[in-house]
Amino acid sequence: MNRFVTANPSKCIGCRTCEIACALAHSEGAGVEGLAPESFKPRIRMVKTADVSTAVMCHHCEDAPCVNACPNNAIVYRQHSVQVEQERCLGCKNCVLACPFGVMDVVTVPAVRQFAGLTLSLGVKAQAHKCDLCIERGDAGPACVSVCPTSALTLMDREAMDETLRRRRERAALEAAEVAA
């Protein structure tokens, strides 16, 4: 099963700590001082409506519409998650249109190449931009989960999913017993 981050709206207070942690985890070590409004593109987004505050992010679907929509096989299943091979991304945005959760985006970053000690500009490079579960952080896990001050975010893997299902079945059984009695 692919792992994914879930948000519990009954714990979320809409503070956006997760958004900053996400942007920082993908800043390639630039640190907070590298953050600026124009380049701030967290892969997790806090959404606030009249009745709900919660974070939304990639579900790492088992049969992912983004994977299926990509004409260049740039989106792949790897390490129990959906990952983008950025060098293959064309920036065609098929994946953006295919994603039913609105959590895939295409962004452009400056493309450069090193040649004979010089930095050559190659215009811009497109990137399919989504939650990668911070796989580069290894055992530290997703940055958003680690900072959430109200523990509204959890990393759901097979084990956590089984535990959730077990609790739900237990609750269903108890409720059924009440109805029977």
Partner: protein, 723 residues
Amino acid sequence: MEKHMAVCPYCGTGCKLNLLVEGGKVVGAEPLNGVTNEGELCLKGYFGYDFINDTKLLTPRLRNPMLRRSRDAAFEAVSWDEAIQYAAKRLGEIKAKYGPDSIMTTGSSRGTGNETNYVMQKFTRAVLGTNNVDNCARVCHGPSVAGLQVTLGNGAMSNSIPEIEHTKCVLVFGYNVADSHPVIAKRIIKAKERGAKIIVCDPRKIETARLADLWLPLNNGSNMALVNAFANVLINEGLYNKEYVANYTEGFDEYKKIVDKYTPEYAEAITGLPADDIREAMRIYAAAPSATILWGMGVTQWGQGVDVVKGLSGLALLTGNLGRPNVGVGPVRGQNNVQGSCDMGVLPTEFPGYQKVTDPEIRAKFAKAWGVDSLPGEIGYRLTDVPHLAETGKLKAMYVMGEDPAQTEPDLTQVRKGFEAMEFVIVQDIFMTKTAMFADLILPATSWGEHEGVFSAADRSFQRFTKAVDAKGDVKHDWEIISLLATAMGYPMHYNNTKEIWDELRGLCPIFYGATYEKMEGLGAVPWPCRDLDSAGSKYLYEGNVFQRPGGKGLLFATEWRPPQDQLTEEFPLILCTVREVGHYSCRSMTGNCAALQTLADEPGYVTINPKDAKALGIRDQELVWVSSRRGKVITRASVTDRTNKGAVYMTYQWWIGACNELTIHAVDPIAKTPEYKYAAVRVEPIADQVWAENYVQQEYAKLKGGLSNAVTRAAKKAPAFA
């Protein structure tokens, strides 16, 4: 990488953290398992450290003492020696000419720590000879202190922050915990998960209202009517604890007489709440085996703040929710050390440790310890009196430390006139602020992260914080600066470190005496009262239901509801209520210089407005708009949201361009002198030319930032010899 233990400088929760330092620069923060935060931090704690490094995103750090010899001159950098001599001479002259009460000082509820505040009030009382010392509790939880001191005898939270998650009912009144104290919000969520009932009284659909079992969206400005109606229900439905009331309280008959009129039906007309909801709230509250009331600025920032605080404490007294674990009353302090500045006596009424200046024995004790013949016994001026006192010529000089009243006080036009009218203004800060632009002398201090000391968390817990990096520039610790000034004014004052100061004040304050530096080592927290060296302090107050009042009983108090002062008219038909931004703090001089926090929210900020009001005015979401009141006019961005109630608009007070305090009214509580920030009549107008408006905001912002930055860089260039 080095790690240095600190306490977060951003709210009263008192979260312990490590500052991560590389090459003399703070590069990160990680949570520690402190008593109040248990390994959590919010966005300000995690990402709010880079202001120390002088990012200059909003305004530069101060590096040198700066002086201007006339108000039309530019600042020039001067040596510490010249700065101190100049300050001593001017303050001495003003004191000789107009008397000690013509001078006022402020403590700072922010990063400087308790020791500095102690030294500041000592300087004010022993050297200047006045009780004119105050701090921003005046514009914050002043009414909580004044109200609770009368009814229960102690102005602080009666219980500790960790206890919140073990209570069975949380009554949240005028307190947006999610935006003010995110880490305390977790305690409320955990309480709910453990089966607690949550009741929220707030006109806005704040985050906690979303999670509440019962949300009472009362009309803005109807607090007292609702609290009286709560008491009415508790009494008339027989829900109150008769035994507790008989044994541990006084004033019941008088109290009952006043609240009798406030039936839920009577209150319905004032509060706009269905009578049955008012009843339901009290049935839940009274039924809970343990219940805690938490409140914030929605209770205190009113012309009738003290009365409502007293009324809320009455609900706890009626139901016996005091004097034991997991119950009580919680005025949750907003700024990281506003509890501490009150503890340290930067108040015009009290010496450190809540010892009254009007008590001759107390005065004699402090006079002896400080080596002076006598100390002033007259209560001093309040911070909110300053503009008026300055304009009428009573106040001639002010020494502002670590506060930015030209951003945070109500009715800023009046505040500016006040500063202009004064003969001599000293601003001691870490940043060039709007207030510093009015100064004659600017004294640069070390920042949080560059010094050590003790903070008081909202729940009375003393906690130590340490230094992480050396300060850059020609700056000194706040307490060193004040000591130098005292010495130059003929009162030799010298301390080698903060522990010396702490030990001196401990010795003078019986309720703090047992709180030694040793006990606060590492993650240690000592909640006062802590009277003995072998005591661990007091997690909750009023043990055995003994209240700190003459006779030891709690006082039941009620009074009639008074409507807010500003008048809604056709010209100004909407209520403006000022609130806070989760990612910014206080006047924003610190968080506005943090890249991550500034990335999430920047000028001109927002005015939130209900979709119905917005539609009627022809205003669309995210458009720039004008907001004006009888006192001023500012530009800001509309956020159209159902969470905002119809008829009211809300602005956060952190913005320097969209500065809501240009609009707020100087109407104060008669006792606490806290302003009615929560109710100003305003008009919101659309702007047809949005392109012009966007440019205007950018230009004004650039002009403001440029002015602050130039003041510092020009001064440094002029006299670099000793820099």
